[in-house]
Every structure is written in C-alpha cells, then in structure tokens.
C-alpha cells in the first residue's frame, strides 16, 4: 500500500521542484542573469581561476627559493612573479572572495529577501570585475609588471619599464565592482529585511558583511583616485608623487595605505562572519556575547581607518605621528580579540562536531590569532624597524590573509555548499583537505617568521646560504598546501554529480537560509518568511526537537 517511503520523497522532491539552477538553461541565461545566486556562482568560477593563477606564481617563487642561488628565475622574472602573485591574490581573489561569492549567494536569503536591492547593478559589478581581470590577464601575457602590489612611486611612475598603467587600470576597474557590491549590500540590509527580522536578530554574518561594505564604500574610492593620479603622472610625466619634479612620494604611500590597510579588513571581516555562523552551527549554541561580536565588526571597520601609517614607520614620517599610529594599531586589536574570546567562550561546553567547516574555522581562529599577535609586534615601533621588509612581514600577512581569510572562505564554501548546489561534499576527503591545508600552511609560513627575524629580506630571488634549511621547509610546506587546495577543486566538482542529496537543512542549523530548499527556488522562498525567533536560537530548537520526539 505505502508506495512512497521517506527515502523516495527525499530523492524525488528536488527533481520535481524548480530551483534557480534549472529554471532556464544556456550560456545567456547565466551571462545576463540578475539572480544574486547565479551571479555568486559566476564570481565563484572567476575567482577560482584567479586563485589558481596566483597560486602558480607563488609555487614558482617557492621553487626558486629552494636554493640560495637565483637559478630558476632571473631577478626580473622574480620581481614580476611576486608582483603578479600579490596583485592577483589581493585584488582579483581575496577582496571579492567571501563578499561577492558567499555574500552574494547567502546574504539576501539570510535576510528573507527575494534578491539584492539592485540586481542589475550586481550583474554590472561582475562585468566590471571581468574587465579588470581580463586587463590583468592581458598584462600577464604581454610581459607582466614589477612594482610590487603596492605600486610605490616614483619607481612605478618614472622608472619601471613594465606595464604599470595596464595593471593599475585593472585594479581601478575592479575597485568599482567592489564598491557596487558594498553599496548593494548596505541598501539590502537596511531596506529588505523580512518582517520580524530586527537588527539584533540578524545573523552575525550579516553584521560582518555590513561592516565590510562600509569599508569597501569608504576606502576604495581613495585607492581609485590615487591610481588615477599615478596613471596621470606616468602618462604625461608630471610630478604628482615624484620628488625630482616637486611631488611627494610619501603622499602616495599615505593614500595607498589609507585604502590598503582597511582593505585587510575587507578580507578578514567576512571570514569572521563565517566563523560566527559555523561556530554556532557546530556547537549548537547561541554565540556568546552576540552584541559584542556584532559591534566589534563595526569597531574594526572604524578603527581600521585610523592606523594606515603603521606601514610607513621607516618611510620618513615624524616620530610623533609614528607614535600615534603605533598606539592606535594596538587599539585596533581589541575588537578582534573580543571576537576570538567570544568564539572560544561559545566553544566551551558546546557539543562540538568536527565537520569540515568547523575544522577550517578552528584553524582560522588559531592562525588568525597568530597573525594578529605578530601584527602587534609590527605595531611596536622599535621591533618594526628590525623586521620591516623581511620575511617576518611576509609570514605575518599570510597568517592573516591565508590562515585567516582564505580559511574562512573555505569554511564558508563547505558550510553553504549543500545549500548552493543541493549536494553534500564527501566528508572524509574534505577533512583530509582541511588537515593538509592546516599542516601545509604552518610548515610554509612559520619558518618565515624565524627567517625574517634572522634578517632575510623579502622580494629577492637569492639569499644567504645559512637560510636554506628554513626555506626548504617552507617550500615543502607550500607543496603540501598546494595539494590541500587542489583536493576541494576535485571533490567539490565530483560532488556536483555524485554527492549525496543535501536536503533543506543538512547541518540542523538555525537561520533563514536553512528553511528553504537546497538549491533554493529562483525567488529564494515560496512565500516571504516571517521571523519570530532570535539569532542562533539553538537551545529553543533543540528543545522543540526534543518535544516532537516525545510526541
């Protein structure tokens, strides 16, 4: 009599329903889409290509550094490689990563909205990104650029004979795509929350994206205008930043870092948002100190604007301003520390389950803390003089950007993968990948702290022979890391076809995105949801589940 079992229902249900993936087909339905979910996927594909390209340059550099002699790459090529690596990883991969991929996909759903406020602008932002990215690729093909990702003047404007204008133009265009994403998020968060979804019921990922968007909106235009001035100077040979022609190179550094320090928070704040989601979901607890975590995002965004000159302690700024910037840099660590303490407190006595997103986030918390603490070393005036432009700095910012932000991206990717694709990734392989990334990362970058402290400078293709052992360790680590990053590429693609069907809420998590089907319908919800519960109300959910079991 009973012809349909629970299993059949699970199996049949997705095929019957229309979702955002199967509403229509064909290249144009993607290239002209205004659906935030599809645009998120367009971004995902594009930044993955960029990540691979940036990773290639990194691996080539690590191979060169296997031996003290500059034997694999000439110094000119090495200069180009670290420049291209840095520019690609920062402007074309990490800045768009969590906001434009996961934020695009998840944020409107977490708000209970049908889409972002401005879907066409969202699509425009992807096209701007692509124009910038193709400009960047073109530069790579026609010979590269060698200024470092920081484009310091007057080298970049008067002396470098590589493709500076093309590269800065690419970064300039990508900047606008970032601004438009931020604008869309701010308006959407203000104006499109579902009924009942008050500010204090918002997931912390939304708070983090809000803070990120503020930084994108207020910092990126300064980069844009700075790059315009750089291009003008290079193009018509006037001295905006060239001291020989009456310009001031320090002004360039001030303006560049006025963007680029806050840009670090564009990279790390979203990862913090993912951390809050994942920690709550895999400990089955409310985030400890919700309001503190929420407001610390805003505090980071604000204080992040006040510390830029800590990149210029040896550049010739006055001692007094250096002291003020040093002090403020200590200050900015406080809200980050608040977050770390609150996540840790949430873990305490939680029923922690060791799924892949959680593994990545535990790695994130540890590595971000390392990066943050070594950041305090660098904020100390005396110590900074000792390690400026050494591998200590390289290790520090990779702990923040790779150990922190990239780990957060991978955590979020795994956490929301079932929602995005409707399929589970293979857990065992994913755990292996997370483990390899963690081990490989530490082996790559921890030795660099020591190298830097011992005095190995950055941005050279050759080094003194006594540094070789630590460099070999670092290169070995980088190969493990490369395997760790290749694995997800393989098994995530595999899971699209062969992965287990995910169902609506595979993690048993609280949040609007887990109340709609996986993959979600085109308009996200069949009817507008009404929110009556607090954020992360796991205690209530567990209680309710207990009650239904008793019935």
């Amino acid at each position: 009599m009973t012809s349909v079992t629970y299993h059949d229902v699970q199996f049949l249900e997705p095929a019957k329903t229309r979702n955002y993936l199967n509403v229509d087909y064909g290249a144009l339905s993607w290239l002209l889409t205004k659906d935030h979910k599809r645009i998120g996927i367009l971004y995902m594909v594009s930044i993955s290509v960029m990540f691979i390209l940036g990773g290639f340059f990194a691996l080539m550099m690590r191979l060169e550094l296997l031996t003290p002699e500059g034997d694999l790459l000439t110094s000119d090529t090495y200069n180009k490689f670290f420049t291209l690596h840095g520019i690609i990883m920062i402007f074309f991969f990490l800045i768009p990563s969590i906001p434009a991929v996961l934020g695009n996909f998840i944020l409107p759903i977490q708000l209970g909205a049908k889409d972002l406020a401005f879907p066409r602008i969202n699509l425009l932002s992807w096209y701007l990104y692509m124009i910038g990215a193709f400009t960047g690729l073109l530069v790579v093909i026609i010979g590269g650029v060698d200024t470092g990702w920081t484009f310091y003047t007057p080298f970049s404007t008067q002396y470098s004979n590589t493709h500076v204008i093309g590269t800065t133009f690419g970064a300039f265009i990508v900047g606008f795509s970032s601004i438009l994403t931020g604008l869309n998020f701010i308006v959407t968060i203000h104006r499109m929350r579902a009924p009942g979804l008050t500010w204090y019921r918002l997931p912390l990922f939304v708070w983090a994206m809000y803070a990120t968007s503020l930084v994108q909106l207020l910092a990126t235009p300064i980069l844009a205008i700075t790059l315009v001035m750089l291009m003008i100077e290079r193009f018509i040979h006037v001295g905006i930043f060239d001291p020989a022609l009456g310009g001031d190179p320090l002004l360039f550094q001030h303006m560049f870092w006025f963007y680029s320090h806050p840009a670090v928070y564009i990279m790390i704040l979203p990862a913090m948002g993912v951390a809050s989601e994942v920690v709550a979901a895999f400990t089955r607890k409310k985030i400890f100190g919700y309001t503190f975590v929420a407001y610390s995002s805003l505090a980071i965004a604000f204080l992040g604007f006040l510390v830029w000159a800590h990149h210029m302690f040896v550049a010739g700024i006055s001692v007094y301003s250096a002291m003020i910037f040093s002090f403020l840099s200590y200050f900015v660590a406080v809200p980050s520390a608040i977050k770390v303490f609150n996540w840790t407190a949430t873990l305490y006595k939680g029923s922690v389950s060791w799924q892949t997103p959680m593994l990545y986030i535990l790695g994130f918390i540890g590595l971000f803390t390392m990066g943050g603490v070594t950041g305090l070393f660098l904020a100390a005036l005396g110590l900074d003089v000792h390690v400026t432009d050494t591998y200590f700095v390289v290790a520090h910012f990779h702990y923040i950007m790779v150990g922190g932000a990239v780990m957060g991206y991978f955590a979020g990717l795994h956490y929301w993968w079932p929602k995005i694709t409707g399929r589970m990734y293979p857990e065992w392989w994913a755990r292996l990948g997370a483990l390899l990334v963690f081990v490989g990362f530490n082996l790559t970058f921890f030795p660099q702290f020591i190298l830097g402290y011992l005095g190995m400078p950055r941005r050279y293709h050759a080094y003194a022979p006594e540094f070789q052992v630590l460099n070999v360790m670092s290169t070995a680590g980088a190969s493990i890391l490369a395997v760790g990053y290749m694995l997800p590429l393989v098994y995530l693609l595999w899971s699209l076809r062969f992965g287990r069907k995910a169902g609506t809420n595979p993690w048993g998590a609280v949040g609007l995105e887990w109340t709609t089907s996986s993959p979600p319908p085109k308009d996200n919800f069949h009817e507008t949801p009404v929110v009556t519960w607090e954020a992360y109300d796991y205690p209530a959910m567990l209680k309710a589940m207990g009650e239904t079991q008793n019935v």
Partner: protein, 230 residues
C-alpha cells in the same frame, strides 16, 4: 488615486515595481538610499584629490598664486551661477513630478539639461583657451615667466585639469541621464506614486553641483589668497 479604488487583497502590480521589492514604498526607499550611499563614495573620491591639492598648495604657495592668476574668474563665476540655477530647476522638476504635472516636469527637466549643457560649453571655452596658452601639462606645457617655478605651476594645472575634468565627466553623465529621464517623463511614467528616478536624478545633480561649489573657490578664487594680496 489608484490605491483607493483597488481592493485591499487584490494584487496589483505597478508596471515599474521590480520583482525583488514588496511595494513601491520599499522600492523608493531603496533607490534613494542607494544614491545617498553612492554619493558617500563620491565624496571620498573627490575628497582624496582635494586633499592632495591642499597639501601642495601649502607646500608651494607662490606657484599656486601664479597659476591661480591664469584662471578666468568671470567664466568660472558665470558657470557657478548657471549650475546653481540648474539645481533650482532640478528641484522644481522633482516637486512637479511628485505632483504629477507632466508638462511642468518636462519643462524643468529640459531647463536643467540646457543649463548643464551651457556649463559644459563655457567649460570647453576655458579649456580651449588654456590649451592655446600652453597650460595643458605634459610635453606641451609652456611657462616662461619664472622657470624655476614651472614644474610647480604645472602641478597646479594637473590638479586643475584633473579635478575639473572629473567634474565635467560627472556633468556629461548627468546630462546623459537627464535625456533618459526626459524620455521617460515624456512617456508619462511618473506620477504621485512613482517618481523615484526623478528624485534620485535630483540627488545626483545636486551633488555634482556642490562639488563645483568647492572647486570654484579652490581653483579660481583662493590660490593666491594669503600670498599675493596679504
């Protein structure tokens, strides 16, 4: 008005209600907030270059004073008046669109566009004069009076062309948008319940106007202030 005649539970879709919004009110609030947020980034954009300008003015007061003397204050002044008037007509266009008087809206929008074009025309006249005076930076640049100050005078002119050029670019975009808004007003798209594009256009126009209100004194009136005239 239409919402009086319509049954409460009947689902009427205004032709310009986009699918992601619940109703026109939400859509209106989202579009105006979006423009305000955009203008915030614009302030930073212009703010960055104004700061750089100010720093060099502080370092090179004599060169700034000399270069300031080269500006056509009369043309700049007339342009300031033209823009302020255009802001008035723009504001009136928003108001009449709200009130639903199509003819008046069209007239005011058209006037705004005309003032915008006038501004650009006068600006082009000034650019042309500077070009022939050799005041365009680069290899073409000529400055004989006091050669030791030439690079700095040129620096001023970089900021002059750069800032007014950016502003003019915003004006060109503004005029282009006006053409589009006018064509929509012509087709009777606006009325008391839907006038967001006109209002958003207005916000943008006023902003571009205000930028000029800063540029005019910075570039025409005060470069020599405190240096040549006490």
């Amino acid at each position: 008005m239409s919402d009086v005649t319509v049954h409460a539970d009947e689902h009427v879709h205004h032709p310009f209600l986009q699918h992601q919004f619940e109703d026109l009110g939400q859509q209106h609030e989202a579009s105006t907030l979006g423009m305000w947020v955009f203008l915030a980034t614009e302030i930073l954009f212009f703010g960055g270059v104004l700061m750089a300008y100010w720093i060099y003015r502080t370092i090179y007061p004599e060169a700034w004073a000399l270069a300031g003397e080269q500006q056509n204050t009369l043309a700049g002044g007339i342009n300031t008046l033209v823009l302020i008037t255009s802001s008035l007509t723009m504001a009136l266009a928003v108001r009449t669109a709200q009130l639903g008087s199509r003819r008046a809206t069209l007239v005011f929008l058209f006037a705004t566009m005309l003032f915008g074009a006038t501004f650009l025309g006068i600006k082009a006249y000034e650019y042309n004069a500077h070009w022939h005076e050799g005041l365009f930076p680069g290899s073409h640049f000529t400055w004989h009076e006091n050669p030791e100050l030439a690079p700095k005078v040129q620096l001023f002119m970089v900021f002059y062309w750069g800032m007014t050029g950016l502003h003019a670019l915003h004006m060109v975009i503004g005029v282009g948008l006006l053409v589009w808004i006018i064509s929509r007003a012509w087709r009777s798209h606006f009325g008391p319940e839907y006038y967001s594009p006109v209002e958003v256009m207005g916000l943008y126009w006023h902003f571009v106007d205000i930028v000029w209100i800063f540029l005019f004194p910075f570039l025409y009136l005060i470069p020599h202030f405190g240096v040549l005239h006490g």
